[in-house]
């Protein structure tokens, strides 16, 4: 639960999103070329030789609570084994795929699986524990054909300071503004034109809150580190920075940082559009939105999936717009890392599997026609780490099989806000900022400047102790 639950939920629901296309990519990654040049273990850059007999362990198989995703996993393993009959993937399921305590314990004991799940923000921890293998030599256009289309900032989260790669991305999200279209209509607002600045959000929030009956205009988290997480997202939206360029000090005590807290303060106390109940944490805002009690909040696309699948809301009622401020949007997600000490064949098999299941248009998570058949949503704008030809193919395929009202996310999709990854040591910083956000939302006499200054000195102390 707690902090990670929220960054991570993406993983749970996200296997779902996607596009369909190009089966060609996978065949090129698989057999063909590798049999030619032998694919010997010594040649790290070559794809796995289909004749290789190798066993890898993996986590994050979809749990029994997700029957459709679980069936797809089994089918994909079978299809993968047609290409690589001698690769055995021993999987354990997980929900959530990462539990902070278990994850840390596994790293300490070196008991993580050969191919293991982790969030982008875990890279430091994994490297500190010496838990992951450098896979730079194994990842290239031959083993991962879509590599050139993957957002470099996403790949950057999986690299160390020297640029060595330790994992492959599997899914990601970019934050935006999620809103309740039903309430927009009731309040006389245009549901196809969500607000894009904080000034507009304040105005629209007033109109929505005026509906009464316990409806709030805007909501935000302020507990279990999610307050700090959203502070960061909103700071990024305004163009602010979390860390100084050398990464040694925090940089959030800035005009943008003050504005983030001031916006929240004004909406909570001056406009009174956020309601008296604060201290919210994931999934409270989704619960409120799905019961038509909340107009707008900052969130990730797969929140919509959660509101429909788990909270039994309707896709028709939810829309998504770009990150308010529009300067940059917080980008997070997860990938698969390779356990330190894996053999070259194991790494190759792992790369081949991740490529097959998560990085190939038309296959695995991007098999949209199958998602449609299995009743999984198609058309949610997530994951979003592809650009170039893959992005175009993805959009076409997604449109062809869409099961959700794609036009509801047009404001979000058509305004491409550049993604910005989370800061190093994100959870420690979020924890410090949580207190500031919570104070602004619960204390009418909160002194924003002082809160930020206190948070700054505390966060700097945390950072220096981590050096």
């Amino acid at each position: 639960m707690k902090t990670n639950g929220l960054l991570h939920r993406s993983a749970v629901a996200v296997v779902v999103a996607g596009l369909a296309f190009s089966a060609a990519a996978c065949s090129s990654s698989g057999g063909g070329s590798s049999s030619g040049d032998g694919g010997k273990a010594g040649d790290a850059g070559a794809p796995l030789d289909p004749a290789t007999k190798v066993t890898i362990t993996a986590d994050c198989q979809p749990p029994t609570t997700k029957p459709a995703e679980r069936k797809q996993w089994d089918d994909d393993i079978a299809a993968f084994n047609k290409i690589y009959p001698n690769v055995t993937i021993k999987a354990t399921d997980g929900s959530p795929c990462e539990e902070p305590a278990k994850f840390t314990a596994q790293l300490a004991g070196k008991t993580q699986p050969d191919l293991f799940y982790a969030y982008f923000t875990d890279t430091n921890q994994i490297l500190d524990a010496g838990g992951a293998q450098d896979i730079s030599a194994y990842v290239n256009e031959k083993t991962v054909p879509a590599l050139k289309d993957i957002d470099p900032s996403v790949l950057g989260t999986l690299k160390d300071a020297d640029g060595k790669l330790y994992g492959l991305p599997v899914t990601n999200y970019k934050m935006g503004l999620i809103y309740n279209r039903k309430l927009f209509v009731q309040a006389g607002l245009d549901p196809d034109k969500p607000p894009t600045t904080w000034a507009e959000i304040r105005e629209d929030a007033k109109k929505i809150a005026a509906l009464g009956n316990g409806v709030n205009g805007y909501g935000d988290y302020s507990a279990t580190n999610q307050g700090g997480w959203h502070f960061t997202a909103e700071l990024y939206g305004l163009g602010g920075k979390m860390l100084s360029d050398d990464g040694k000090k925090v940089a959030f005590n800035s005009a943008e940082g003050k504005q983030v807290l001031q916006n929240l303060y004004d909406m909570r106390w001056t406009d009174n559009t956020m309601g008296a109940t604060q201290g919210l944490k994931w999934p409270d805002l989704m619960t409120q939105t799905s019961t038509d009690k909340l107009g707008m909040y900052v969130g990730a696309p797969d929140d919509i999936t959660y509101m429909v699948q788990t909270l039994k809301g309707n896709y028709e009622d939810y829309g998504m717009g770009p990150m308010p401020g529009g300067k940059s949007a917080l980008l997070g997600g997860d990938g698969r890392f390779f356990k330190k000490g894996s053999t070259p064949d194991q790494i190759k098999a792992g790369v081949a599997w991740v490529n097959f299941k998560y990085l190939t248009m038309g296959k695995g998570q991007f098999d949209y026609s199958r998602n449609k058949t299995d009743g999984l949503p198609v058309g949610i704008p997530q994951p979003s780490f592809f650009g170039g030809a893959s992005l175009a193919a993805d959009n076409t395929a997604k449109a062809a099989s869409a099961t959700v009202p794609v036009k509801n996310y047009a404001p979000y999709v058509s305004t491409p806000v550049p993604g910005k990854t989370e800061p190093a040591n994100a959870q420690q910083l979020y924890k410090v900022l949580d207190a500031a956000v919570s104070a602004v939302l619960t204390d009418k006499n909160a002194d924003i400047a002082k809160l930020l200054t206190d948070a700054e000195s505390q966060a700097n102390q945390v950072l220096s102790s981590l050096q």
């Binding site: 707690k2 840390t104 207190a435 104070a439």
Partner: protein, 325 residues
């Protein structure tokens, strides 16, 4: 440590402490005293073996390791000695003092609710002439639930928007509360849930103790014309003092290491860190926030150990003094 337990109940041993008690019975074979002693010791240690191995592996050895780790740091697979760096780090952390304040507050609240309430309930049940068995079962029911069920159920009740508690308050036209969501009420809410879950055990123990009070004492008090409160104060409490003081100690030690309830109810820290306890801080250093700070976590554990040991020593001294009165 044994001293802290002793006020609880001192069963007079039927044989003098120390060696020789078994030897007395086998007096006829005094000649082979030494061999006898060795054999007896061998078999005695044989009986101890299983428990000793388990204590050794799973408690004593980890304790030693804890102390060692307190002075070490592991980074990128390399372990180095860092002296008192870890201790310095925790004393510099504002959360440290915050966590201690919360822990004491939690303990205090838990004593009012978790210690006094079961005693009150036990006294009440002991007075009743009817429905006793039924009530006793009721109080113990939550103890039988898996904690995750009780805790998640309370989390559902506490929800400010759709929870049962606020609905009851609204129905009664009372002001509602943010419960776990507010820094002011989060801690109390955790204690209420914990008390509901756990009070059955203490209540039953008190009930047993109350039933052991000789009725003549009350009769004598009646003859003196003592009122209800005076009887409670001068008969009931003194007569159950031993069990009360043992449970008080256990309760304090237990509440100071409370983990599951805040972890599941508020995610551990709670709003503005209002439910962050020392044990949670240990957990956070070691396992959360991507820290891997086993050294710092161990150091904090050590500090906690010293505080608890000091407290226990103080406690046993105080209770011994009052025994001598």
């Amino acid at each position: 440590m044994a001293g802290t337990i002793s006020p609880y109940k001192t069963n007079r041993r039927s044989a003098p402490a120390g060696s020789g008690s078994a030897g007395r019975g086998a007096g006829g074979r005094e000649r082979s005293g030494l061999g006898q002693k060795v054999r007896r010791n061998l078999s005695a240690h044989g009986f101890l073996f299983g428990a000793l191995v388990c204590f050794g592996f799973f408690t004593w050895y980890p304790m030693v390791r804890e102390v060692i780790m307190s002075f070490q740091k592991t980074k990128r697979g390399k372990t180095t000695w860092v002296g008192f760096d870890n201790l310095e780090r925790i004393f510099d952390d504002p959360d440290f003092w915050h966590a201690w304040r919360n822990t004491f507050l939690f303990t205090l609240l838990a004593l009012v609710l978790g210690f006094a309430l079961p005693f009150f309930v036990a006294v009440l049940l002991n007075e009743l002439r009817h429905a006793k068995a039924y009530l006793r079962i009721l109080v113990y029911l939550p103890v039988m639930m898996p904690p995750v069920a009780a805790v998640l159920l309370f989390k559902y009740f506490y929800n400010p928007d759709y929870g049962l508690f606020n609905d009851i308050l609204r129905t009664l036209h009372l002001p509602t509360s943010a419960w776990l969501n507010s820094p002011d009420t989060a801690m109390v809410s955790v204690v209420i849930a914990a008390t509901w879950m756990n009070m059955g055990g203490a209540t039953l123990i008190y009930l047993a103790a109350l039933q052991g009070i000789p009725g003549e004492l009350y009769e004598a008090a009646d003859l003196d014309g003592a009122g209800l409160l005076r009887k409670l104060w001068h008969v009931t409490i003194p007569q159950t003092r031993l069990i009360l003081s043992l449970l008080l100690l256990l309760q304090i030690v237990a509440t100071m290491q409370v983990f599951v309830e805040p972890f599941l109810l508020t995610g551990g820290n709670g709003p503005q860190n209002s439910t962050m306890t020392v044990v949670y801080l240990v957990y956070e250093y070691a396992f959360d926030l991507g820290g891997n700070n086993y050294g710092v976590a161990s150091a904090l554990g050590l500090v906690m150990l010293v505080v608890l040991a000091g407290f226990s020593a103080l406690y046993s001294r105080l209770s011994r003094n009052s025994d001598n009165d």
